[in-house]
């Protein structure tokens, strides 16, 4: 079945089954490999992308449910890779193995869009759905706080 998705502001036409989770449309068919496959059951957050600006778990979201929505992946967050969250990530050298980081960054950026000045607890709560098996949580929290400062400027 042919379906047209708007991914990172570009229209992409795909001829695949409408049950296909968005994650695999992105990885297998569009070739965007930044979004990661973690648990496949929406528990870990590695596959987080934005659908109309809302962070969603792409591994359980069938493309049939996406429709005309704007999809933003880690590749489309900032054309130059200079989103304040990405810069904060870079400055604080957040990732260890890095697998979960695309999801972490997408969640963090969405959090700051809604709440540009989150408290420490709001950061912890907001990031709680994204798991990092290296345990870099303290740096993730610092980076979100730093990014918030950058966004303010």
């Amino acid at each position: 079945m042919a379906i047209t998705l708007t991914i990172n502001r570009k229209k992409v036409s795909l001829d695949i089954d409408s049950n296909t989770p968005l994650l695999w449309a992105l990885r297998d068919h569009v070739g965007l490999l930044g979004t990661k496959y973690g648990c496949g059951i929406a528990q870990c957050g590695a596959c987080t992308v934005w659908v109309n600006g809302e962070p969603m778990r792409s591994c359980v979201l069938p493309i049939s449910a996406v429709g005309n929505a704007q999809i933003t992946t880690i590749e489309g967050l900032d054309p130059a890779g200079k989103h304040p969250v990405q810069e904060a990530w870079d400055e604080l050298d957040v990732p260890q193995c890095g697998y979960c980081q695309a999801g972490q960054i997408m969640t963090a950026a969405a959090l700051l869009k809604k709440n540009p000045r989150p408290s420490k607890q709001e950061i912890i709560d907001g990031m709680a759905g994204n798991i990092c098996r290296c345990g870099t949580y303290h740096r993730i929290q610092e980076a979100v706080a730093l990014a918030a400062k950058k966004v303010k400027k």
Partner: protein, 852 residues
């Protein structure tokens, strides 16, 4: 001091020489002195860092480096040396690889695989080095090395490496390799999942039935991720089968479950045993609970009935019915932790919550579980929780938690603040993390508060039992002292102090507090054995009952906590709240005046019931006497015995000459009838019709002519009445006389007749209206009944003044029979009509007729 200076000087000298030496080594280059020091250090860290300096000094001198290299050096140092040598001589990589340790292997492989090499013979290496090489081929995408790893003994790693190098294009080449059973199919499938191989694998799916287990595993994993509709039934088929692909089915199942599968998943989870299947079904259950979090009681039901209950432990959320989990927890740490976790929500009954935590503590020495328990206790507003945290101070890894927890509980619970808890809290005052809280604790100025009746060491504060309070009061001091010595020696045989616990062996008499108590609040934990029987004596009198509720032959099924020896007032507890025999129970007993309230395990089982005097039923309970732990011939254990003395209620004594109190502010001993709804509170007689009593409250004594004074406070629409010259049975308004007590300002009484107003002789003599104070204020009333003349004075105004014989000479105004109107004498009573109100300062003077 002298030594300290010496020590300081010598340390500085040492530090300086070390620093200098280090600088020397770093700056002077490759000296023979450095070489000797480097060789001497054998790579082990030493402060001059000679090895480091030696390697740097010889960074380009590979002859020296080769000579210095040895496998005894730390792995990082070996890597450093090999790296330096390889810059000039790459053959070192292959030469050192076969015998390298893991960290060195990894270092070498990265460089080795950076470009094509010849002379590599995989099979000449040991298994670990072969395997590491194959994995590295994939990691570094070394296409040139692929031919080297074909036909290896490590098929799984080989296949994955090939797929890593070639991507989906490599799949056709390895597909046949998946026919062997010598691969870790799930591992390969998990990797394959990340490839974009839709076309190839969809094609293979049509041959699913003929595929090998490993091939099926790949197809199920891949197709499940992508939600290929046709894979769903294949996954379920695999799960239901006993074929080798069953494991792959379980692995993929969580991608397919939806709420309709709840029962099916639940049934499977209850019976599976294989770790991978348990894990897979637990993943499914996690999914389902996320989709619908309202099925908690269903989950509890499944869990309790499951063949393998432990499988369910992570999902149990319900606070009710924790017994099964506790039973599991006795032998399984995971279940115990779940028990502790769920108990953390059981704040509705803090006493039980703390008992469960303490039970859990007695079951485990696991540090993590214990920490979890103490973290829970910190949130329990309970004296027992504070005591448990105090005990936790002795556990090194709990101490900080306990110090802060005690301080937080102290500050949050003024009712537990006292000398004892303040001492507990400040025992480690400088470790309290929050300075503000520490300050608050230090500045608090509590009274004595709860103090312990049992010191944990011996029986100080306790004495043996001598006779009973009535006899004791008649015995001379000398005789009493003699008897006390004998009683104390018996006590020491029967009662044993064992740390936190006070044991009664089953032989001897009651254990009595040395101090006499009047009004008090007591908390005590107790534990009985099968057929156990015991009790608490209050003011030297039996008793708050403790017994094994299985003893139905003596009526024990009613539960513990009742005032067992009551005859007039309720003797049974209002509900059964006992924990099973052999488990701890918590009593909270409050005695004010003659009334006792008992909480058993957090449930109120006795609600302000009058404790009758067992030793002499003609008198009320003693004003003060000992608290006793009853001896009843069987083993019983107590702990946490804390008492707080309450300020006794004031005893009312009228100022007017000739008047006696009808109610002394504390006791209803001179009254009979509904002593349930009429309760002394702070010197007032409070009517609370919701307490479940029945009927009126009457004086035991009869009064004929009298002058009575009292105060009353109404609530909106309140209705009561003062019965006079009435018998104990029947409607006092007719079989005696009722002087109305009523908020007749309420609109609900707009249609009343004047002979029904406040102060009227009900149905007979009307009263003046308008002299009641606003509802909520106290009114003063006087009643003078002298022969047929009845006079009522309300707030200083005579509102009723008449002769009952004259009032009925044309028949009763209300046209009803009043057979008791002309009674010469009778009881005085309060005739409740279901309204809350209060009385106080009830006093009376009998009028003795003067003979003319």
């Amino acid at each position: 001091m002298k030594y300290l200076v010496l020590l300081l000087v010598s340390w500085q000298a040492f530090a300086q020489s070390t620093r200098e030496q280090q600088l020397n080594y770093r700056t002077k280059g490759a000296t023979s002195e450095l070489k000797a020091a480097a060789y001497a250090s054998k790579g082990i860290y030493e402060p001059t860092q000679a090895t480091e300096a030696f390697i740097l000094a010889n960074a380009k001198n590979i002859t020296e480096l080769k000579a210095f290299y040895r496998t005894e050096l730390p792995e990082a140092t070996q890597c450093q040396i090999i790296g330096l040598i390889a810059k000039q001589d790459e053959s070192i990589l292959l030469a050192k690889y076969p015998n390298s340790k893991p960290q060195v292997s990894a270092f070498i492989l990265k460089q080795l695989l950076a470009k094509p090499r010849v002379n590599i013979t995989l099979r000449s290496w040991d298994a670990a080095h072969q395997k590491a090489f194959i994995i590295a081929v994939g990691t570094y995408k070394a296409t040139w090395a692929l031919p080297l790893i074909q036909n290896s003994n490590f098929k799984t790693e080989q296949i994955i490496a090939q797929l890593q190098v070639q991507g989906a294009k490599g799949l056709p080449a390895v597909w046949d390799l998946l026919k062997t059973n010598q691969v870790d199919a799930q591992k390969i499938a998990d990797f394959t999942t990340t490839l974009a191989a839709n076309a190839y694998l969809k094609n293979q799916l049509s041959g699913y039935d003929q595929a090998s287990t490993a091939q099926k595993t790949v197809l199920l994993a891949y197709g499940s991720c992508r939600q290929w509709t046709e894979v769903k039934s294949l996954v379920w088929r695999a799960v239901q089968s006993n074929h080798p692909e069953r494991a792959a089915g379980f692995e993929a199942l969580d991608k397919w479950v939806d709420l309709g599968d709840f029962d099916l998943i639940a049934e499977k989870l209850s019976i599976v045993q294989l770790p991978n299947e348990v894990k897979a079904l637990q993943n499914c259950m996690t999914q389902l609970i996320k989709k619908d979090g309202t099925r908690t009681s269903k989950i509890t039901a499944f869990a309790k009935a499951a063949k393998h209950k432990l499988n369910w432990v992570p999902f149990v959320q319900e606070v009710a019915n924790l017994d099964w989990l506790y039973a599991l927890g006795k032998t399984n740490e995971e279940a115990l932790r779940a028990f502790v976790r769920i108990n953390g929500k059981a704040f509705a009954n803090v006493d039980q919550q703390v008992l469960r935590y303490r039970n859990a503590l007695s079951l485990t020495q696991n540090l993590e579980t214990r920490e979890q328990i103490y973290k829970g206790l910190v949130k329990c507003n309970s004296l027992s929780a504070m005591r448990t945290l105090y005990l936790g101070l002795k556990e090194p890894n709990i101490k900080q938690l306990a110090v802060d927890g005690l301080a937080a509980l102290y500050v949050a619970n003024p009712e537990f603040q006292g000398t004892m808890t303040k001492e507990w809290t400040l025992e480690n005052q400088w470790q309290i993390s929050d300075a503000a809280i520490r300050d608050q604790v230090m500045k608090s100025n509590p009274g004595r508060g709860f103090y312990t009746m049992y010191n944990g060491i011996d029986l100080r504060g306790w004495k043996g039992l001598v006779d009973n309070p009535v006899k004791r009061r008649k015995t001379s001091a000398d005789t009493l002292a003699m008897k006390q010595i004998k009683a104390d020696s018996i006590m020491r045989k029967g009662w044993l102090a064992q740390g936190e616990e006070l044991h009664f062996t089953g032989h001897g008499d009651n254990l009595c507090s040395v101090k006499d108590y009047q009004d008090f609040e007591l908390t005590i934990d107790w534990k009985i054995e099968k057929d156990g029987d015991a009790g608490l004596y209050l003011r030297g009198s039996p008793q708050v009952q403790i017994w094994d509720i299985a003893r139905t032959n003596v009526g024990a099924q009613v539960g513990s906590g009742g005032l067992y020896n009551n005859q007039i007032n309720p003797k049974n507890p209002s509900k059964v709240a006992d924990n099973p025999v052999g488990e701890w129970n918590t009593f909270r007993v409050i005695m004010r005046g003659e009334r006792v309230t008992v909480y058993l395990n957090g449930e109120m089982v006795v609600d302000q019931v009058i404790l009758e005097n067992y030793w002499d039923r003609k008198i009320p309970i003693f004003i003060k006497d000992a608290i006793e732990l009853q001896a009843h011939g069987n083993h019983i254990v107590y702990r946490n015995i804390y008492v707080k003395e309450l300020v006794p209620q004031p005893i009312y004594q009228p100022e007017e000459v000739g008047f006696e109190p009808l109610f002394d502010g504390t006791s209803l001993f001179n009254w009979t009838g509904n002593t349930t709804d009429y309760v002394p509170v702070n010197g007032e007689l409070v009517v609370d019709p919701k307490r479940g009593g029945k009927g009126n409250l009457y004086t035991k004594k009869e009064y004929g002519d009298f002058h009575m004074k009292f105060e009353f406070q109404l609530t909106p629409g309140a209705n009561n009445g003062l019965g006079i010259r009435t018998p104990l049975e029947g409607d006092a308004a007719y079989v005696g006389m009722e002087l109305q007590i009523l908020d007749n300002t309420s609109p609900m009484y707009a249609k009343l007749q004047p002979y029904q107003y406040h102060g009227s002789v009900y149905g007979i003599i009307s009263a003046k209206q308008g002299f009641l104070k606003p509802v909520g204020e106290w009114n003063e009333e006087e009643v003078i009944a002298e022969g047929n003349h009845i006079k009522v004075i309300l707030n200083g105004e005579v509102i009723t003044d008449g002769d009952i014989v004259q009032a009925i000479k044309n028949g009763t105004p209300d046209h009803k029979e009043h057979p008791g109107l002309l009674n010469k004498t009778g009881h005085i009573g309060f005739l409740g009509h279901g309204s809350p109100l209060k009385f106080r300062n009830l006093r009376i003077k009998e009028i003795i007729k003067k003979k003319k």
